[in-house]
């Protein structure tokens, strides 16, 4: 199987990473060599194997839903690239 440029552009859209033509071509090459290596898994028959979703075989513990961090709004907002002191600011989404 080969991953063509059209597929690369589709994945780039899903990933929300913009690519120029040159970068897309380079990625297509890289991904093809990586998937060639991954295809090895097809040698194995796994129809009757249960997928492993977690190595930690524990049931999730419950805890009470208590607020532990208070008054950190200012500190959190300070990390944003653009804000108006109370809210995060993003480019306009509604015309």
């Amino acid at each position: 199987m080969t991953i063509d440029l059209k597929t690369i552009k589709h994945i780039s859209k899903l990933s929300r990473i913009s690519l120029d033509e040159e970068k897309a071509k380079k990625l297509a090459g890289d991904l093809n060599s990586i998937f060639e290596f991954i295809e090895k898994l097809n040698e194995l028959k796994t129809d009757n194997v249960e997928p492993l979703t977690s190595v930690a075989e524990t049931t999730l513990k419950l805890r009470s839903d208590k607020v532990k961090s208070k008054d950190i709004r200012e500190q959190i907002i300070k990390n944003s690239p653009q804000d108006n002191q109370d809210y995060f600011v993003v480019p306009k989404v509604i015309e």
Partner: protein, 485 residues
Amino acid sequence: MSDITKQSLSELVKNIKDKKLSSEEVTRAFIDRSEKSKELNTYITEDYSSALNKAKKFDQKPNLELKLPGIPMAVKDLFCTKDIRTTAGSKILGNFVPTYESTVTQNIWNEGAILLGKLNCDEFAMGSSNETSFFGNVQNPIDKNLVPGGSSGGSASAVAGQLTPITIGTDTGGSIRQPASFTGTVGLKPTYGSCSRYGIVAFASSLDQAGPMAQNVKDCALLQEVISTYDSKDSTSIDFKRNNYSKELTNNIKGKKVGIPKEYRVDGMPKEIDELWQKGIQYVKDCGAEIFDISLPHTSYALPTYYIVAPAEASSNLARYDGVKYGFRAKGENLIDMYEKTRSEGFGAEVQRRIMIGTYVLSSGYYDAYYLKAQKVRKLIKNDFDEAYKKVDAILTPSTPSSAFKIGEKKDDPVSMYLNDIFTVPVNLAGLPGISIPAGHDANGYPLGLQIIGKAFDEQNILNIAYAMEEKINFKNKITDWWIK
């Protein structure tokens, strides 16, 4: 004492407890050496003046009951440190200042240690050579222009170069053990669920684990004792009885059963690695343990499985970097354009590559063929270990298929770079503990490591085997201080 930085963590702790050294003297010594070692590029963020203040404060009212009394320590820049910039080696987090502290680092400060600074690493811990960091390559103290391994390359370099007495790294597919092997240091990847992941910048959540990186096994055991705690803030943290790893450390491993997996004798493995392995087997025998040949039949499928599971989880974890709430933002014509440009300019090439792989294997129509398939093979790999552990208590393998390579040597060939982790990745997939200890040198004098893999929650046993072997191996790291003018 002029040779403070040459002392091991255990020696420093003892000297501070015996009041032969003050925290300030120790902290100043490591800062001085770090200042002279800028060429190694181990630090992303230094916090020296604050460290000195903390050391002075400690000396005024020293609590000598603590396990790390006034010990200065730099940590991998993947751990969130409150009010100290945390970058994960990425441009996208270049100005991120956490509002909270990771559980693992908090445990360390609670025992009296003092933060020196944040250490360089591959971007989002994705890499095996520290070459993917936005903040540049790290030099290996062993030789100029040699990679220190990755992703905890800054951590490994800082311990080997004596810029910090000990440190912590994170290991998703080998990121503690491989750099430890490349720098002649000791690195432990604990059992999944042993150390809290709270406050560690996430890469692949089902694989990530924090662990100690040290000059010797005893120091490693001491730090593991400090960082391994149950934490309700991490839903995968496991509540099990943890040992006092350093106190219970023993070199008596008589009668322990150690397995040698035949599948780890891979094609093209350099002769010196095989010889090292054979020597290791002899050391284990000399210590009174028994050797058994075992089989882990699905070993060769571990890397392909890893390169589906890890990128899939990464693509999901890294979806949060959108240029809105924190981090770097690029200008865009509209919201979507802003997202796309932010991620294109903010992430480096390897991170983008992995996000793309992950997105692809999770995308509609491919999920069953790749992601589900990989989870099934992951089960087979874990079953291999479960089966082996019916016969043996631990497994001995080489840590890496080669010694450290030159900067730039593998940069443009992702698959050859990924092959570095061939012996370490299966351990993460199965959630087991593994430790790398320095065991010899190659023809160039570069260090080589051996890995001991344990049963889940059996850190004590692999630490004991490592401790017994360390005594027999009597490894001496060849650090010439070539970078100090």
